[in-house]
């Protein structure tokens, strides 16, 4: 769990995280890469901006980023720190509404940007992967919804 990250560096396996696209082989990833777009970033760049309209999904290939949200009186609040392998941007990916939080890079790294167009292409070449991605993200949203309902 995230509160017992004893060595402060590497996160312990987060049981809360929902794994997506697990078990794809290199060629399947190549297909995704071929149909999407990778972006290199440096430390301290804003990758996503809260309130911006953009519905792409991102996979953090390498590097570390943090999730920021502006709280009352415009002060920014760090919600989480995201490690490589994380997927972000899923809310706007589904509802096409403005971004709910900003993403700022802590280190240099690389993201894979899957726009709706990319997704359509991926789906057209390999519907199974697209289906898998949607179900995985659906599980994440269901998890949040279920917990929100209890909250």
């Amino acid at each position: 769990m995230q509160y017992f990250n004893y060595n402060q560096e590497k996160p312990t396996s987060s049981v809360n995280n929902i794994s997506v696209l697990s078990g794809l082989n290199e060629e399947e990833w190549e297909m995704i890469i071929f149909n999407s777009h990778s972006i290199d970033f440096l430390a301290d760049e804003i990758l996503l901006k809260e309130g911006e309209v953009d519905n792409a999904l991102y996979i953090l290939v390498s590097g570390k980023v943090e999730v920021l949200s502006s709280s009352l009186f415009g002060r920014e609040k760090i919600l989480a720190c995201i490690e490589e392998g994380s997927v972000f941007g899923e809310i706007s990916f589904f509802d096409n509404l403005p971004r709910t939080a900003s993403i700022r890079s802590l280190t240099a790294g690389k993201v894979l940007r899957i726009s709706h167009k990319s997704f359509d292409k991926i789906a057209a070449w390999n519907p199974k992967i697209a289906q898998q991605l949607l179900f995985d993200l659906g599980r994440l949203l269901a998890y949040r919804f279920r917990n929100k309902a209890i909250l």
């Binding site: 697990s22 060629e27 990833w29 997927v87 057209a124």
Partner: protein, 893 residues
């Protein structure tokens, strides 16, 4: 910086300097040994002191500031001494031992309490021995295991009760032992005091979480039993234990009933039960303590004070519960925020390695947005810009239309020089040396571009309204001495003619007349008008003042009724006659619409010119169209699909041929295209045509040749184009399907030329930009007196403009004739299908199809352009070698 809801030990303030803590630890250890001494040698004082004064201090301190006891506990002190002196073996407690430890500590605590009545309450010796044993074990634990894992967080019988009462501390005190943390135990209370309870109760290992719950569940029962049941000599031990067990079982039962029947969450139950236990403990215990104080110090405490204290504890319990509820809220909130999708650790490796394989190092920096794009091998700058969803207007993708000029701000010199088509286009746009066309540009080194740099052929808003009626020149014929050339039509053929004329002759009077209401625009971008936001603005391919700058008269929205060859003049629909010395017909072609009445129904469209696109878009919006049927599976039909999908329609496509684009593709590539489109949600019907369209209420029913019926709202006809020869007929020119011309583009009238789609010349395929452009230049040269002949310089190339599939075709795909050799190559990796099919005759390339093999396509097509290039079979093979994927992973089909 906000205070974290669940601070770990590094984020907690130090409330006291370490030296003070060590001092207190020493004092407490001394008191403990004094206590043990009293138990052995003065048990009548020792027992009262222990049970009725010292022990009752602990639970309340656990609830209010659990950190204090964790810092000064004598067992912890002894446990931590080996670490302090560096003599601990620092072994890691195995996962199994961690579980056993929890078990042992819980059982030890319960046994300890159960044996108070029979033994420990009365026997100083036994109690003293138990305490000594505990101290000894704590020390041994510290000698063997690292951190506090040998006792405090694990085997210590006091730990479970401390964690239960201290689940939501009112005050957090930083642990003073573990700097730095060794990560020795699971869900360590010292590491994160507020989060420990949540991690314990929600632990995915039920072995762990259930034991925590179970212990808390029985706690109130244990306390009730302890204070209400006494052990007497008449009872057997078994009877005593059984009667003690009953309240505990009831308590546990109640806990789970509340959870299962009333859906109370485990955290709330745990909080409620532990605080109930605390209140009960002091409710029963305060009078006992009062008695102890009386015995020890001869001070009597009034009933009133006792009651006050009992209520005080109840209030503390309530506060802890409230603090706990707040923590629970914060915890849930943080869980929601922190839960995210991840690809597994192994998968990240696979992804990184896949990325390292597929990517060259070419990086493009777009300066206006700061985006950094990575160019994949074989892809163009246009592909990269489109992929990143940056603003660009793709057109022909072959460097001819000029819709996608991009300013290279850095690295221009490192690019391959523009090819002939690109260069001509850049000259037309006046951008030679200033920009490159994204579709032709394949940088091999990093470059920077700026998409916002001011270049666009259609400039700012204020000019837009002028387009429609912008005319220049006059009808007055006061310049009789000038050589007058009239060009009818302002498509690529007409514009190329005008451009070349002006380039070669600055004197002659050039007039371009067109019935369309728009200046020269990008016909290949028409689909974008259907779903884009800018109507036609982005399609204009000329700078606003191009006509003026080049001294060319332009007549938009002007219909020519007939040509009067005798008087060498044309008659406009508005009645005027305009004289010419030479006339160039560039009237182009119109979409073919069959004569049957069903094709004249409203809602049946073509997509050939700007008005078609605007009308179709308007109709779709006004009639809330949901479905579309495209008739014709050629290039135009297939390219229309994407625009219709983009505006959210259900699309079906009907092709009379055996597969889609059967003129340009071989059967396998046709099938690949079909599969791709079907996966995009398109319904593909081949080998059949439309028999009839029936309008029923708002819905059209399209009856196919094979009997199937498709319901639709609109029908889009993409079944070819017909040369527009109506005007030529008024001049009695010789026409067939088009206007018959010679290789100098001259019609049967020596003063009239015809170029582009309207002209008919063997080998020149209609509908292609390259041909219209070339013919225009030839006509211009010839009518200025040069000796020029049109010849098909290269085999016609088609690049399918559908995103997601890279499909190129060139030449002809004759298969069955003698002497033709076919090379086929295919591979299927990870869902990407690659296919190459090349036809050659005696070493001369005559045609080919390339699906997702852009680099091979480039190689083969540029080889085919070298005239008289006869390839050996080895050279032919080498053309394929460029795309390693095809060679390495593919198999020969």
């Amino acid at each position: 910086m906000n205070k974290p809801a669940f601070p770990n030990y590094t984020q907690l303030p130090s409330r006291l300097p370490p030296a003070i803590w060590w001092f207190f630890r020493g004092i407490v250890l001394l008191i403990t040994f004094l206590q043990i001494y009293l138990l052995f040698f003065k048990p009548e004082i020792g027992l009262v002191l222990f049970w009725q004064l010292l022990i009752p201090l602990l639970p309340l301190s656990f609830a209010i500031v659990p950190g204090v006891w964790r810092n000064i506990c004598p067992m912890a002190f002894l446990n931590q001494l080996p670490r302090k002196f560096g003599i601990s073996k620092e072994k890691t407690l195995s996962e199994n031992l961690k579980k056993v430890a929890l078990y042992t500590s819980v059982i030890a605590f319960i046994v300890f309490v159960l044996f108070r009545h029979p033994v420990l309450n009365h026997s100083g010796v036994y109690l003293g021995l138990v305490l000594l044993l505990a101290l000894f074990l704590a020390l041994v634990g510290g000698l063997i295991f690292k951190g506090r894992s040998g006792w405090c967080g694990t085997f210590c019988p006091l730990a479970p009760i401390q964690k239960a009462y201290g689940h939501a501390p009112l005050l957090v005190v930083k642990n003073g032992y573990c700097e730095p943390c060794l990560g020795c135990q699971k869900n360590c209370y010292d590491f994160n005091p507020r989060a420990a309870v949540f991690s314990d109760l929600n632990d995915p290992d039920t072995w762990w979480s259930e034991k925590r719950k179970f212990f808390i569940a029985l706690l109130p029962g244990l306390i009730i039993a302890f204070f209400n049941i006494s052990y007497s000599a008449e009872m057997t031990l078994l009877q005593y234990l059984t009667s003690m067990l009953m309240p505990m079982v009831t308590s546990v039962g109640l806990f789970y009933i509340l959870h299962n029947l009333f859906n109370v969450g485990f955290y709330k139950l745990a909080s409620l039960f532990s605080m109930a236990a605390l209140s009960l403990f002091y409710w029963y215990g305060t009078p006992v303590v009062a008695k102890g104080i009386f015995i020890l110090f001869d001070i009597s405490i009034s009933e009133f004070l006792i009651t006050i204290f009992q209520y005080f504890v109840a209030v503390v319990s309530l506060l802890v519960i409230i603090r706990g509820l707040f923590s629970e809220y914060q915890h849930k909130k943080s869980q929601l925020n922190s839960t995210q999708a991840v690809i597994g650790v192994g998968d990240v490796g696979t992804l990184q390695s896949a990325l390292s394989h597929t990517q060259s190092l070419v990086q493009i920096t777009e300066e206006s947005t700061g985006s950094k794009l990575v160019l994949q091998p074989g892809k163009t700058l246009l592909d990269a810009i489109e992929e990143a969803e940056l603003p660009i207007m793709p057109g022909c993708r072959m460097g001819m239309c000029g819709s996608d000029p991009v300013v290279i701000t850095n690295g221009m010199e490192g690019l391959d020089p523009p090819g002939e088509a690109e260069l001509t286009t850049l000259r037309r746009l006046g951008l030679e040396g200033k920009a490159r066309l994204a579709c032709c540009c394949k940088p091999k080194k990093n470059i920077s571009i700026n998409l916002k740099a001011d270049l666009s052929p259609s400039t700012g808003e204020e000019d837009n309204q002028n387009h429609e009626l912008e005319q220049s020149g006059t009808l007055e014929e006061n310049d009789d001495d000038l050589f007058k050339i009239i060009i009818i039509g302002n498509g690529i053929a007409g514009i190329s003619t005008a451009e070349r004329l002006r380039e070669k002759d600055s004197e002659c009077k050039i007039t371009v007349i067109t019935k369309e209401a728009y200046p020269f625009y990008n016909r290949m971008g028409l689909e974008k008008v259907l779903y884009g936001r800018t109507a036609l603005q982005d399609l204009y391919l000329m700078k606003e003042d191009w006509y003026k700058e080049n001294n060319i008269n332009s007549w938009l929205n002007t219909q020519v009724n007939r040509i009067d060859t005798e008087n060498k003049q044309i008659i406009l629909a508005i009645g005027k006659a305009v004289k010419y010395d030479k006339l160039v017909l560039a009237t182009g072609a119109t979409a073919f619409v069959p004569d049957q009445p069903c094709y004249q129904l409203p809602g049946v469209f073509t997509l050939r010119n700007a008005d078609d696109a605007l009308n179709l878009r308007a109709w779709v919006q006004q009639n809330s169209v949901k479905r579309a049927v495209i008739l014709g599976g050629g290039v135009l039909g297939v390219e229309a699909i994407e625009a219709l999908l983009e505006i959210g329609l259900d699309v079906s496509i009907v092709n009379t041929g055996p597969y889609l684009m059967n003129r340009q593709l071989d059967e396998i590539s046709g099938d690949i295209l079909s599969k791709f489109l079907v996966n995009k949600g398109v319904k593909v019907f081949t080998n059949t045509g439309i028999k009839d369209i029936v309008q029923q209420a708002d819905i059209k029913q399209v009856e196919l040749g094979n009997g199937e019926i498709l319901k639709t709202d609109i029908v889009l006809l993409c079944i070819g184009i017909r040369a527009d020869i109506a005007l030529a007929k008024t001049a009695k020119l010789i026409t067939n399907r088009g206007v018959i011309v010679d290789e100098q583009m001259r019609t049967s009238d020596p003063d009239i030329f015809c170029v582009g789609d309207a002209a008919e010349l063997p080998d020149a395929i209609g509908g292609l930009w390259a041909i219209g452009s070339d013919q225009g230049k030839v006509a211009a040269n010839v009518l200025l007196g040069e000796d020029d002949y049109y010849s098909t310089k290269s085999l016609p190339t088609v690049q399918l403009k559908v995103s997601g599939i890279d499909l190129k075709s060139f030449g002809a795909l004759k298969e069955s004739h003698d002497g033709y050799a076919i090379n086929k190559y295919g591979s299927f990796t990870g869902g990407i299908i690659r296919w190459t099919y090349v036809v050659s005759k005696k070493g001369v390339l005559v045609g080919g199809v390339f699906v997702n093999t852009p680099m091979v396509a480039n190689n083969v097509i540029s080889a085919s352009k070298e005239i008289d290039n006869v390839l050996t079979s080895e050279e032919l093979q080498n053309l394929f070698l460029i795309d390693e994927k095809v060679i390495k992973k593919g198999k020969i089909w």
